[in-house]
């Protein structure tokens, strides 16, 4: 972890410690979480740990978007369809109530059993899925609902019809829509944050990753296939491009890590949902204090600054 990132966390810790404990246990939980994050980040993530995250992020028992919706939201109304061509089941969208606040939520959705996996297309969306997402963003913007997105996809679906219906353009426009929003937005990678299919709904004020989620420009297998012409070298590839949360935080690509129950979210869905909910509420509370146009300005500036450059 870079010294700078560590300093940032330490700063925040110090700040929190000095604050009057108005919110009691809540704040001490926040403190504890940061402390723990700090501890973990102090050591470099090992290749084994990276691969462990790849496995856990794809674990077949890992909670999916609707598992969290069910546990985190007090009410939920799912919105269906892109108003043009279909209802893509790889993306769910809706409005719900989180801590007394109505939010809009968009997430990739994988299937648990064989049949649902097919219906959900393994969480790989068609352009129509992103158009459903955009419709929901528009609604959120109009009603001032904060937008929460849950990212969990191997990638956008690489199919014939998906291309013919404009996969690239849909992903580009979905990002543009998120950058235009004047409501607070929080994206959380809850499993696989697979490339363009993920970023389409992850251009948020706060981008978080669960502890064992991965976020990457290419899958380890895809990378290995290109570099070594051997998908079996996936582990080596993962070590090379480091899709784990700690590295993403270090690179400034995400704004925080959401802890999972010991051993991974798949072990205890309820506990994972409590931790996720806590993080969402905390971030939404913070963002609620920022003016709408300022939110947008900062969001744009954040993504504008992404990348590492040298000069001749």
């Amino acid at each position: 972890m870079s010294q700078e990132a560590e300093l940032g966390l330490r700063d925040r810790l110090a700040q929190l410690s000095g604050v009057k404990l108005l919110r009691g246990t809540k704040l001490s939980a926040e403190l504890e979480r940061l402390q723990r994050q700090l501890e973990r980040l102090r050591q470099d993530t090992t290749d084994e740990e990276i691969w462990r995250s790849v496995e856990l992020a794809r674990h077949e028992k890992r909670p999916y978007t609707l598992d969290y919706v069910e546990r985190m939201l007090d009410d939920w109304f799912e919105l269906h369809g892109d108003r043009a061509r279909m209802d893509d089941h790889a993306v769910v969208a809706g409005i719900g109530s989180l801590g007394g606040r109505t939010i809009a939520l968009v997430g990739h959705q994988k299937g648990r059993d064989l049949k649902e996996r097919a219906t959900r297309n393994f969480g790989m969306a068609y352009p129509e899925g992103y158009r459903k997402a955009m419709r929901t963003m528009e609604l959120a913007g109009r009603h001032g609902f904060p937008l929460v997105t849950l990212v969990d996809t191997p990638g956008a679906y690489p199919g014939i019809a998906a291309e013919q219906h404009g996969q690239g353009g849909a992903i580009a426009r979905s990002q543009a829509a998120m950058l235009r929003l004047e409501v607070p937005t929080v994206a959380v990678v809850i499993g696989e944050g697979g490339s363009g299919g993920a970023i389409a709904i992850a251009v948020a004020d706060r981008v978080l990753m669960q502890e064992h989620a991965i976020y990457s420009v290419i899958s380890p297998e895809g990378c290995a296939s290109i570099l070594w012409r051997d998908a079996a070298q996936a582990k080596k590839a993962a070590s090379a491009f480091k899709p784990d949360a700690a590295h993403c935080l270090e690179l400034g690509v995400i704004d925080g890590i959401v802890p999972e129950p010991e051993g991974g979210a798949q072990i205890d869905h309820d506990a994972a949902a409590v931790l996720l909910r806590e993080a969402l509420v905390a971030h939404l509370d913070e963002l609620a204090a920022v003016a709408a146009d300022e939110l947008r300005r900062r969001r744009r500036a954040k993504f504008r600054a992404m990348g590492v450059l040298a000069h001749v």
Partner: protein, 288 residues
């Protein structure tokens, strides 16, 4: 390429091993031999014909400097942000280190990265241009491509002007990992700033434009033009074929197909590109 499972779906990242124009027809031919009709040309012959086969009309790839020369009024092009170079935040190493690949690419192309940006004029209309070069690491988009493109947008936005992008890219640059993916929202946001300021993006899709570039700025033009036969798809044809196990249509992802499916405003032969862009610059300029 060995099997890529659905879960190993490549998505935006470079597939340039497969979509390299010189290899598209089973590959390996001399770069100046027409892959469609087999005619062979001297380099100056091809250059004279804008790198379009005079016999069959096949559009050969065009490198960034030559592209600018084809489009710009002579003497008007001034490169901007040419000093930017990629860092190596991941210390990425595959068969060789990323830094070595970058150095080799720069030596081979004379470019600091896969995009060349600057100020120019086309038939007297001042504009910015951002021309990608497939020969620089498969035209992959990393931090420098994103940054140069974003700056070109910002400079164009300053006077509500026009940016012409000519894309040719295999996708995001794997070697920069997640930072390469972040160039998508970065360039998308930059186009937004340009368009919000009243400026215009004219997006030209050259062969091939796949992956991350398709999923960001190249799809956001006020007007989208494509060169004949240019492959433009998000996922590359081989990944699609492997995932779906279906036979692809013959014109899968090609400009003509994308035009039919409503993604492209016009398929413009290279010989007409300059005049078409000039016409559009005049039309968009007349509102200011």
């Amino acid at each position: 390429m060995p099997g890529v499972s659905a879960a190993g779906n490549i998505d935006v990242s470079i597939e340039h091993k497969k979509s390299d124009p010189s290899e598209r027809d089973g590959g390996g031919g001399h770069p100046n031999t027409c892959p469609r009709c087999g005619s062979h040309y001297r380099d100056d012959e091809l250059a004279e014909h804008l790198r379009v086969c005079p016999h069959c009309g096949h559009h050969f790839p065009v490198k960034a400097h030559e592209r600018v020369a084809q489009l710009a009024d002579p003497g008007t092009f001034e490169e901007e942000d040419g000093d930017l170079r990629s860092a190596d935040p991941l210390e990425f190493f595959d068969l060789k280190p990323y830094v070595e690949r970058l150095a080799e690419a720069e030596l081979g192309t004379g470019l600091g990265d896969a995009i060349l940006t600057g100020r120019t004029a086309i038939e007297g209309h001042p504009c910015r241009i951002a021309a990608m070069d497939f020969s620089f690491m498969g035209g992959s988009m990393g931090s420098v491509v994103g940054e140069r493109f974003a700056r070109a947008c910002e400079r164009a936005a300053e006077d509500a002007g026009a940016l012409i992008s000519v894309s040719a890219s295999g996708g995001a640059r794997m070697q920069e990992g997640i930072l390469a993916l972040m160039q998508l929202p970065k360039t998308v946001g930059a186009v937004g700033e340009l368009q919000d300021a009243g400026g215009v993006l004219l997006s030209v899709l050259a062969h091939p434009t796949t992956g991350g570039v398709t999923a960001s700025f190249a799809s956001l033009g006020d007007v989208t033009l494509a060169e004949p036969g240019a492959l433009t798809s998000f996922a590359g044809p081989r990944v699609v074929a492997q995932t779906t196990r279906e036979k692809l249509p013959d014109d899968f992802g090609l400009a003509e197909s994308n035009f039919r499916f409503g993604h492209v405003d016009a398929v413009v032969p290279r010989a007409e590109l300059r005049a078409t862009l000039s016409r559009l610059l005049r039309l968009f300029g007349a509102s200011r």
